[in-house]
């Protein structure tokens, strides 16, 4: 592989990582703060993408659509928190798994009911269309660079929010002792709703931003959900920094695995067999990385609170 291609693939890995981060950020926030396993996080991502596609089709403006997606996902999140999630905080992870599993079914079918069974159309806004040249002769999509930018901005914003504000402090206090923070006069219920809506909004933003690159369809959140879980576990649950680094690690490893493994193997197996074997190994690679990391660091790379 030429070095120009290598650079491009690294960039691809970074971009995939940032994309995963956008999804993982909300998940790790909700997970870290409320100790809640939210399988329906992928559904909020889907809500964001559908809302974005619908508003874009209606107004013709992608940026309005982005705002619409944020609002829709945050609202769906707030509603979900008030109606369902709120009753699950004291419960163990299993009840949460069951309830949010049920929510996936509800969200998926409700979305299909609303929008019909066929995937929706959503495209990159005109000003972000096209590519820029990369050194070495290749080209890179402007929109993907924009995603990298937004992802990094979100990472910094979230970091400041959590470590520098009183809201962040209360969120972290609630993480360990919800009852106590309430007894000190903090309205933890509302706080949780806000945090949940924030996490949902981030998922919606991720869905909306990724929608133009992918298929806006029912069930689109599930593959990302699993990857996002992998990311936050590698990074250390509840850690924003861990989510970012975990996401980039997963993005780069996955991209490089897909790009390099078949080539490495083709000397041994011949091109066709190498292509299938390489691809199988590549699909297992990130899980392998996760296992190795957890065996040596059972609480992830950046265990929260240390």
């Amino acid at each position: 592989m030429s070095s120009a291609l290598l650079v491009e693939q690294l960039l691809n890995g970074l971009q995939l990582g940032v994309m995963l981060y956008l999804m993982a950020a909300g998940l790790t926030l909700i997970f870290g703060v409320m100790g809640l396993i939210n399988l329906a996080h992928g559904s909020l991502y889907m809500v964001g993408a559908f809302a974005c596609a619908a508003v874009a089709a209606w107004t013709g403006s992608f940026f309005l659509a982005l705002i619409g997606a944020l609002i829709a996902a945050a609202a769906a999140g707030a509603l979900m928190e008030i109606l369902v999630i709120r009753r699950l905080y004291g419960r163990d992870h299993l009840d949460q798994v069951l309830a949010t599993f049920a929510l996936i079914l509800v969200f998926s079918e409700a979305t299909r009911w609303l929008f019909g069974p066929f995937p929706l159309y959503l495209d990159i806004p005109a000003i972000l269309q096209g590519t820029v040249p990369l050194p070495g002769g290749s080209r890179y999509q402007i929109y993907r660079l924009a995603i990298i930018g937004v992802g990094i901005a979100v990472a910094i914003g979230l970091y400041l929010l959590i470590s520098r504000t009183r809201l962040g402090m209360r969120i972290r206090a609630g993480e360990s002792d919800r009852e106590m923070i309430a007894a000190l006069g903090v309205d933890i219920r509302t706080l949780y709703t806000v945090v949940f809506a924030l996490g949902a909004g981030l998922a919606g933003l991720a869905g909306a931003m990724i929608g133009p690159l992918q298929s806006v369809q029912v069930g689109m959140g599930e593959p990302v959900l699993i990857l996002a879980f992998v990311v936050i576990v590698i990074g250390g649950i509840g850690s924003n920094r861990g989510a970012l680094i975990g996401a980039i690690l997963v993005g780069v490893v996955d991209t490089m695995g897909r790009a390099l493994l078949p080539g490495v193997l083709s000397g041994l197996l011949g091109p066709s067999a190498a292509a299938t074997t390489g691809s199988s190994l590549a699909s297992m690679l990130i899980y392998l990385v996760m296992v190795v990391i957890l065996v040596f660091r059972p609480r992830g790379l950046f265990p929260a609170g240390s």
Partner: protein, 324 residues
């Protein structure tokens, strides 16, 4: 004294026993298939109940063992069918008892390997690392062409059991009932044993167990392996029920569904898995028959149970468990 829980259990056993009779009377042989599915999923959930209800080991990777059991059945059957030898030149077989033993051994071994590595972690990390292993096996199965890859492996006729015609639904149902009963008894015996006490202790307070001189790691590893073995047998039966096995049995959805069963029924309750499996299968059957949007209503019903019936259906019917 007969507790409410006991009463519920007796009713349940009677209900299960009534299914074959009802199927006969109403001429609805499909009821047998449904009951078989309940028994098999229930057995898988019994395994999960040992690890989860007693040991608190929430995992998202048990589909791995379910699928491994299924593939053991499929692969052995296909080799026996084609008369080709397998790995190491061993022959295939179409005899269920052999298949079960192999399924127990293979899933136990896989679990020993996975468990030895994963049980160092705990809580959510454990959930996710078990998921990682299951996903690896899943992707391997999808892309490994020898046994059908994503298309799965169809073996046309159900495997046999000496002296029983397993092709007929009823005898196969009875075999599944018998294994389910064994599983339930094993659960009960384990729960009351010293091992069970240590396992439950490790769930409630890991540090304390260690300080009394019991290694939680070893206790959990054994529980993990037992769990995998039971789940593996259930997987082999499931493959036999469908005469088919595919990577879908290994997917995280399957793990999720098994968790759903057990939470529906009641975690840590002896009959929780059976009640949960029964309810889930019935809902799926019944809703799937009335509306194309059955998943929406299934979701809403699951939500209802989780929110309003704490402790699952058994909890709702029989009240809180007695501790002691």
């Amino acid at each position: 004294m007969i507790t409410r829980e006991r009463l519920v259990e007796i009713t349940l056993v009677l209900l299960l026993a009534a299914v074959p009779i009802a199927a006969q009377l109403l001429n609805e042989p499909f009821y047998l298939t449904l009951a078989t599915r309940v028994a098999i999923l229930g057995l898988a959930a019994v395994g999960l109940n040992i690890a989860l209800g007693l040991g608190g080991l929430v995992s998202f990777g048990h589909a791995a063992f379910f699928g491994v059991g299924g593939y053991v059945a499929g692969v052995l059957a296909i080799h026996a069918f084609n008369g080709t030898p397998m790995l190491l030149g061993l022959p295939g077989t179409k005899l269920m008892p052999f298949i079960w033993i192999v399924a127990i051994l293979v899933s136990g071994l896989v679990a020993l390997g996975i468990g030895a590595l994963t049980l160092r972690t705990s809580g959510v990390y454990f959930i996710m690392i078990t998921l990682a292993f299951a996903q690896m096996i899943y992707y391997f199965a999808i892309s490994w062409p020898a046994y059908g890859g994503e298309d799965g492996l169809s073996f046309y006729v159900r495997n046999g059991f000496p002296g029983v015609d397993t092709l007929k639904p009823l005898p196969f149902l009875l075999i599944c009932y018998a294994l389910l009963a064994l599983g339930l008894i094993l659960f009960q015996v384990l729960r009351k044993s010293r091992f069970g006490a240590a396992l439950q202790g490790a769930r409630q307070n890991e540090v304390r167990v260690a300080a009394t001189g019991i290694s939680p790691y070893r206790i959990r590893l054994v529980a993990f392996v037992i769990w995998a073995m039971i789940t593996g047998v259930a997987g082999a039966l499931y493959a036999d029920l469908n005469r088919f096995v595919s990577p879908a049995m290994l997917s995280w959805h399957m793990s999720g569904e098994l968790i759903v069963l057990i939470v529906l029924g009641g975690v840590g309750r002896r009959f929780g898995p059976v009640v949960g499996a029964g309810l889930y299968v019935l809902l799926e059957y019944w809703l799937g028959g009335i509306t194309e949007r059955w998943q929406l209503f299934l979701g809403l019903m699951l939500l209802g149970v989780v929110l309003f019936a704490r402790g699952g259906l058994i909890g709702l019917l029989a009240g809180k468990p007695r501790h002691g």
